[in-house]
Symmetry: C2
Subunit: 556 residues, 2 copies
């Protein structure tokens, strides 16, 4: 256990009789500490960091700290009452009102206001030996199918994250029926496919990685391992000669890159991402891997390190002896996707309202583009081959109603390259967009808005014409899909989109709560008509959906 003592008003901090105590007599019992730590991990750590030094959100350690703009932070100076108010009501800067929304009780808000005035406890390290304790090959490789055992069109399967129940549904995209539901880690963040599409990988927020074999009649988890305590990203080796060979997990804590054998998840290598911020050169123990994508053209993963603002081009050709090209980019890196040519990777530096374009062929940062919006959140973005601007890539924003498109073709459309060529305003006030999505065969981009506070705006789908680069239609989700059994928590609107293999259907999830199943709605991507509501008692809190074919080929 590590206590970090700042040069602050805290004079004596110790572990005394199980009570963690600061100078001004904030006391939490071991039970309170446990509860507060769990709430912190679930609700706060994403934006403020486990060490509370800030990322998308500010520094919330007890001791004072001056930020880049000269503003002072530090929870001791703010005090319990003001902290309670912030946690309860949120802030205009983007801090959610956890009390107001009903997600935390008044007592929990009070507890958290105290907790963040105590020094943060550094979470434990994890060695390869620690990982191996949790490693299970549930179905050995030689007991797995040699060819697909199913007659279904498994390449049109959708993996659907059932977030709050810790499960993954595999849905047949042709028949729109649940093929299997498998257990997963806590609040699975994303799914990825091996190059062949046969293996589906999931990563839980608790760092549990698993691989599901889609060739089985009823897809099952065939191997699992807890790679870290907190993770957000997973991908696979996609370059020729390495297909299906390796998987990689990007960890939040311990901040690291874990290479695994693709079929068994045996850990091969572990590399720390702790290093220095690209701009101020400050040591950053908590340098979290925000996202990873696999390059199809090189044996490389593009690894985006949040706090240091570095993109690491990670060569896995010799996985025990990795090569890393460290690119200095911008803070704080989050998620992103490929341009149409798949030469450039575009990643959001969300706290700086910028997008970084990485040239993976030359191994350098090609451009850093201010988006004009607030807190870009592209998911993987949406690519368009536009008649005027040529290939462009679009991202939405959490903090403003801008869907922004950026030119990505410096050869044939140099004039527009790495410039914002369109800023498409979503109707109404505020941001709240999380995902945009399109398909080369579809003439529309679809955008959600699940974290907009306005109920009406939250429950619509925004349809953007790819040529006009304008919202041409909003689709209201029918009321019957927005009902909840729990009167306290409203079912939120649609979240996340995915196309089917053919590109003629777009699927979205209704974001519910643990108490009630919600639907996955399937729209005709051309007529924009609701084609089917996939409803199943097992589909609870569906969020991300990943079509096997589109995900294995990075089609978006």
């Amino acid at each position: 256990m590590k206590l970090k003592i700042g040069l602050s008003a805290i004079v004596a901090v110790g572990l005394m009789g199980g009570i963690l105590q600061a100078a001004d007599n904030i006391k939490l019992s071991p039970e309170e500490m446990k509860k507060a730590s769990q709430i912190y991990f679930d609700r706060c750590a994403g934006c403020h960091g486990m060490l509370r030094k800030g990322a998308l959100g500010p520094w919330i350690r007890p001791e004072p700290h001056k930020d880049k703009k000269g503003a002072m932070h530090g929870t001791k100076a703010i005090g319990t009452e003001a902290l309670e108010s912030i946690i309860y009501n949120g802030t205009p800067g983007g801090m959610p009102g956890w009390g107001k929304s009903g997600e935390l009780t008044k007592e929990e808000v009070k507890l958290m206001a105290k907790f963040i005035q105590l020094p943060p406890v550094t979470p434990p390290e994890k060695s390869i030996a620690d990982m191996k304790k949790s490693w299970k090959v549930i179905v050995p490789v030689d007991k797995r199918p040699k060819k697909p055992e199913t007659k279904r069109n498994w390449k049109n399967y959708f993996g659907v994250v059932l977030r709050d129940v810790g499960k993954i549904a595999v849905i047949d995209g042709d028949k729109k029926e649940v093929v299997s539901v498998v257990p997963s880690g806590f609040a699975t963040h994303i799914l990825r496919m091996s190059k062949s599409g046969r293996y589906m990988y999931a990563i839980g927020r608790d760092g549990k990685a698993e691989v599901i074999d889609l060739w089985m009649k009823e897809p099952k988890v065939v191997a699992e391992i807890r790679t870290c305590n907190d993770a957000r990203s997973i991908d696979t080796s996609k370059y020729k000669g390495y297909e299906d060979e390796y998987a990689v997990v990007g960890c939040y804590w311990p901040p690291s890159i874990v290479t695994l054998k693709g079929d068994t998840l045996e850990p091969i290598q572990l590399v720390s991402t702790a290093s220095y911020t690209y701009d101020t050169g400050e040591f950053t123990r908590e340098a979290r891997v925000a996202s990873i994508v696999a390059n199809h053209h090189k044996p490389e993963w593009v690894i985006n390190v949040k706090e240091t603002g570095q993109v690491w081009l990670y060569n896995y050709a010799d996985p025990r002896n990795p090569g890393i090209k460290m690119l200095m980019a911008e803070r704080y890196l989050h998620d992103g996707g490929w341009d149409l040519s798949k030469r450039y990777f575009l990643v959001a530096a969300n706290a700086r309202n910028k997008v970084v374009a990485v040239d993976t062929e030359k191994g350098k940062v090609e451009a850093i583009i201010p988006t004009g919006g607030t807190k870009p959140h592209p998911g993987r973005g949406a690519n368009v081959n536009h008649p005027k601007y040529g290939p462009i890539w679009c991202t939405g924003h959490i903090g403003s109603n801008d869907i922004v498109c950026i030119g990505t073709d410096p050869k044939k459309h140099k004039k527009y390259a790495w410039k914002v060529v369109a800023d498409i305003k979503l109707p109404g006030e505020g941001g709240g967009n999380l995902f945009v999505k399109t398909h080369p065969k579809c003439k529309y981009i679809f955008a959600d808005r699940p974290v907009n506070p306005d109920r009406k705006l939250q429950t619509q789908i925004y349809v953007i014409d790819k040529n006009k680069l304008k919202v041409v239609k909003t689709i209201k989700i029918p009321d019957k899909y927005l009902k909840s059994k729990d009167p306290k928590v409203k079912v939120r609107g649609p979240v996340h989109f995915e196309f089917n293999q053919k590109g003629d259907e777009v699927w979205t999830s209704i974001w519910g709560n643990k108490l009630t199943p919600t639907a996955i709605l399937v729209y005709d991507a051309n007529s924009l008509k609701l084609k089917k509501a996939i409803e199943d008692p097992r589909i609870i809190t569906p969020t991300g959906k990943f079509n096997v074919y589109n995900t294995m080929n990075d089609i978006y």
Copy 2:
């Protein structure tokens, strides 16, 4: 300030009234803490680490810990009295008897026995901004000579570390007279030259880097910067197109790689070496850069990370965006040198009694060779083109009397490649060798033995015939050069060798103490006769000597 509290008997640790206190009432005053911390840094940290987790020496933190062989360590369990005895008398395993040798007083030994039962204090971090506070360009680049201002043969200059007085002497190798003496950091570890030889770089144990301009009539420090709190290595960019462009410092604490502009020492980039041990995959905050060499054939530095056992091939072509190939090698890496072809770099894994051969052309570990001796310490080693074995590379050992030669030519002498082809026994008992040295034009290898406890063995030079691979002569240092003004501390024998530019003289330092100047002895490298004793009141505690021509071209 960070306190790391182990799962040990220590129940409450805090900063209380300025007294650092553990559960069993070990108390040190702030003055005692300061003194003990300084002694720890000077005498103990090298082998045990700042965090006291062990490297060449064992774990000496208060809490218990099982080592690789299953032995338990932990200072609390050993207790004050036994610790005092170990610190005073040393151990057969290689721990020096600090009391016995007179280097620490009885009171200091007592103090250290207490100090190491307290939790270690993590030393502070250092950002690029912190570094810049100490950065001074003393002579701007445009005020420096455009061509050599001296008529001396400056390529035959020797830079000589005057270790305990924190100075560097520049000595004219032709005339054997002191050209200038310049201030340096604390206990300078090594000197390196830029590719052209014009700039001489020094790195102090305190992390102070400096560059001396040898083109000046009287060479001076033209720029300096404190890159870290503890360092051992510095080198420069030597690849075509990058000559004299960059310098690089390898830091012990904070464990990092600092790239600097070659002429001004302006910091360009800072990369952390904290990562996971190559074998057990354990996070290692204190992963110290033991040594660095510059590749002449690629824009790369070979960086040897001690605790993690990793060799990093660090590409500096785009210094803000470095490329790092991480090679898993062996623990704990220390120093080493190139083979004759300069394709292979051979580095000691001293705690494992092995040498790692790195193929820098293919970017891989070529071989890991048990030397058969104890604690190899090659310096840069000695290369021989042997009539039977072909190109071989030789290293001495601190812990045993073996000078061991390893075949380095897998193409034409495959049978001998990466095998010990000769184990040359130094006469008498015990090791104590620090450096071996030769020159392509000389038929001998010279070996010192300054840390052998036997006074007679300590004060001889061992001359090895390169063909016979046997000690053919021992040269006794004349008594008059071994006298000290301080009766308590004996002047130790010769340490470190360097050849002149022509390769017909070999120089060695008499290792004295602060109170008395000692000589640098120049031997005829063929007749083995003492040719000259360079004596000067300013030459106090001479240790490493670096001939400009030989160092810039890696001739050894």
